[in-house]
Symmetry: C2
Subunit: 309 residues, 2 copies
């Protein structure tokens, strides 16, 4: 059998849809993107994805038969076994869509679907900050707080493909109310809007962004530094639980908010060393995601690797 | 190569040491036990274990060469790769002991070591309440609160072999102080002595045992029922976190306290359905351990299966 070196990775996001041809070593050979909302409905979006994928394959001088498969990551609840998207966050009109079947029909290329955070975790585990880790927990800090688990180089999804939901573990029964209806969830402290809200109070200013908090902290603004320290400690509460339960070799932290760098990482590492069980806390590596915006397409491309065609 | 059907499983406990010859289907062919403290020090205990193991092999009409291996579970921190016991809870004189090497020297049979809760989880996953579950979380309720994880029929140990420590995840930053020094750990609500302490306050009586609480609850004692309901809800807080993070197919609960039966299980299931993420909560099975006191030796025997000799 001919070895197929290339797969297509797609990262369907609320803002942009990214498509890349990726080599077996995780290198992006060619990529493109378009605004997801440029396509008014689901069939139009699927058409656009298929034709961009074909475009890339052609531009790289390849034939369709030389591509082993397509992987696609989406922000929502997915049944990756059956290729079904149950719903998407921030993209309407997607309810129980068999996305892998629809894409296969359009492209004639085998397709697999997964949750975007799982794929980011997979990419970081195979080629990024968690390379060679036997166990990895990946957190993304953004509007929501997501998590993904990779064990021995493969995604651990759990029984209902819900594993890794660090955003919705409660660290305080009397904590602030979360969007999910419960109290004290990690997301209700660390999600973008909650951090901004605390910053607006502390810095006595409206319309602050995380970037501005970091800028102020770099200038020595005490309140701004405190906001990141607080955020780190709330995230730390969640990660202490992850460490005591799951004892990962590496924790990779990604998402927009890690622009704050050591303003988050330093207090976070300190909190964890002090509060998690001594043995796992002494050994766990807590690192910044390495693949940035490419993690989604690289992870999606990896999902398609090893598939029959 | 001749297929070796039998292994020896040993459960080294604070009170009793149990030794069994176990068949490949998990059936105990023959077992024996002795009080651990009948042997005054480590070498004496290891000698006793070896000679009891030989005794069983002989009584079963087998030769040493027909036994594939020995597995041994201990209550403490273990490096199962190297076979080293770092320390034991409630048994003094064990610090960084290479138990597998010492037993191999005495017996001439390959030996593997693991933590007792991991082995209980393994036994329940292969032959007990979690049979055929792709992912299982096992909790033991006793003096301490332990946890073990089995994925696809194999123990998941984590990076430092500390995974599964549900007893020491904090569910309330302002909760009662735990033996480990932190606040609000699950063990500080659900561990035997903490339950008894609450019971003594509520039932206005000294020297109550968990069995007496259950007896009173069965007679309709409101305070006794409330104690189990409260205990269930505190345990529930920990298990909601386990479910949201790990999304197991099955949660197996064992240990002395499950004698309380539905006084714990009913409110526990209710709490979980109400508080965990909807999709995994709707599917997770929450069941009583099935193998009772035999789980330790069966799991230990399984650890030894598939080893070379």
């Amino acid at each position: 059998m001919e070895i197929k070196k290339y797969t297509i990775g797609i990262d369907l996001g609320g803002t942009n849809t990214k498509i890349a041809l990726v080599a077996a070593n995780g290198r992006i050979v060619r990529r493109t993107q378009f605004p997801t909302k440029a396509h008014k409905d689901k069939p139009a979006l699927i058409n656009a994805i298929a034709s961009e994928a074909f475009g890339i394959i052609k531009l790289c001088g390849l034939k369709k038969s030389q591509v082993q498969g397509i992987g696609i990551g989406v922000p929502g609840l997915v049944d990756s076994k059956r290729g079904v998207v149950h719903y998407l966050t921030n993209i309407s009109g997607w309810k129980h869509v068999n996305l892998s079947r629809e894409l296969e029909k359009k492209t004639g290329i085998k397709t697999r679907v997964d949750n975007d955070v799982n794929l980011m975790a997979l990419a970081e585990a195979r080629f990024g900050a968690g390379r060679d880790s036997a166990s990895l927990f990946c957190v993304t800090l953004g509007t929501g707080v997501g998590g993904g688990i990779v064990i021995d180089g493969e995604i651990y999804r759990g029984n209902t493909q819900s594993a890794g939901e660090i955003g919705h573990i409660s660290v305080d029964p009397e904590g602030p109310k979360c969007n999910c209806g419960r109290k004290g969830c990690v997301e209700a402290y660390v999600g973008n809007s909650y951090v901004v809200k605390r910053a607006e109070q502390k810095m006595r200013k409206k319309g602050i962004t995380p970037e501005q908090i970091t800028k102020a902290a770099k200038k020595g603004d005490r309140a701004a530094m405190d906001i990141w320290k607080e955020t780190a400690e709330y995230l730390g509460r969640g990660l202490v639980i992850v460490i005591n339960l799951f004892d990962p070799e590496t924790i990779v932290i990604g998402g927009g908010m890690i622009g704050a760098g050591e303003f988050i990482f330093k207090p976070l590492r300190g909190y964890i060393r002090k509060n998690a069980l001594i043995v796992p806390a002494a050994r766990v590596k807590i690192v910044k995601a390495k693949l940035g915006n490419n993690a989604g397409v690289i992870g999606a491309a990896e999902l398609a690797r090893g598939m029959g065609n």
